[in-house]
Symmetry: C2
Subunit: 222 residues, 2 copies
């Protein structure tokens, strides 16, 4: 059976991505990251989503990204923005997707997986440099030479099925695949019970997605 | 003043690399990784080397690579090899240099550094896929698109000055730059006092390097 590593944050996008990888016939192994993020309830959501969507294994890799800093998601001295600003949002974590895909590449090598799924999206996160198609293409080139599989032929295929989808298209597709979005957490500052603030960038994008799709929003807000 | 992130393991190669970056006129910020490696005395050596060679700051990022496994350096159920075998050594850590450079890229972005120095070597570590020139070229392409600096022009330059040098050439160059190799640890299974085993791949390469260079080997062996 073909095998995939699926990067799972516990949010809406990566849950949809996992459902898509399962639907594509992969034996899925999910990988979450404990990187000192503020929204730690995401990690519990990731573990729940992995089980509920039938993944074969779930791992959490710890990375102390707070040592590096530079983001309002890991640096508690910076405020999480509640309205859109100019340029790159402060919620951008320097090189985060590069780091996460690199660790996915390591796990793919250990598991001999043919694919790595990542739920990046160039539409809603246009301010993040590592959510762009050019980033994805460059990472694929790297994956093809960076590992033993790469030396012997080609590395795992980097799959980003959400890349060009709107949030409304994502929730529509996921709902058809049976994703329980009530189990996911997108909020950058969810409380201890996993309730969303309803005000941060991520909450606003998510809420607008359900509205545009004409679907009920199962998110629990504070 | 131009600024560089220098990946520092505490071993001979990365110490030489730091001395070269300092000699090239960079304000150097060293970055070490605590990734569940067996040879933990390396981390103490990295901190010592950073101070003794005059780096401006030193950081340690923790990564639980043992969650991913697949290497005798992080998996205590696998033995460290004491003689050369065929193919990729078991000491290879899946995607390690990709992960380390990615974290270096994140720090370079936060510090607005123009360069990232890494002490990889294609001569002695020909069995490691992520020590090859093709890997380095692909990572440079990625670095040029993965960060905000990349979007605005180009990413930091990935510098691997040891890439084509023999171990003898490395220790000769480092000695001329004042590196105290007695403070470095290369052994894959050094003891708690930092004494080297003298038998693993890394010890054998290091010892042969000093011999070929006609320099005294300051390594403390058990």
């Amino acid at each position: 059976m073909k095998r995939a590593v699926v990067l799972l944050s516990g949010g809406l996008d990566s849950a949809t991505c996992l459902a898509m990888a399962q639907a594509a016939g992969y034996e899925c192994h999910t990988l979450a990251f404990d990187y000192g993020q503020r929204h730690r309830t995401e990690l519990e959501a990731a573990a729940r989503v992995s089980v509920s969507l039938g993944a074969s294994s779930h791992r959490v890799v710890g990375i102390s990204l707070d040592t590096i800093g530079g983001s309002s998601l890991t640096d508690t001295s910076m405020a999480v923005p509640e309205q859109e600003g100019e340029g790159v949002p402060t919620t951008y974590v320097p090189a985060r997707n590069t780091v996460f895909l690199s660790l996915g590449l390591g796990l793919a090598e250990v598991l001999a997986a043919q694919a790595i799924y990542i739920g990046i999206n160039a539409v809603d996160y246009s301010g993040y440099p590592d959510c762009r198609p050019a980033f994805l293409t460059a990472f694929q080139t790297l994956a093809d030479v960076a590992t033993v599989a790469g030396v012997e032929g080609h590395g795992p295929r980097i799959e980003a099925p959400l890349l060009s989808m709107s949030k409304a298209e994502i929730v529509t597709a996921g709902t058809q695949l049976g994703v329980d979005y009530g189990a996911t957490i997108s909020c950058y500052q969810a409380d201890e019970d996993g309730r969303a603030c309803g005000r941060c960038d991520s909450c606003r994008l998510r809420r607008a997605g359900f509205e545009a799709a004409g679907l009920a929003d199962p998110t629990r807000y504070v």
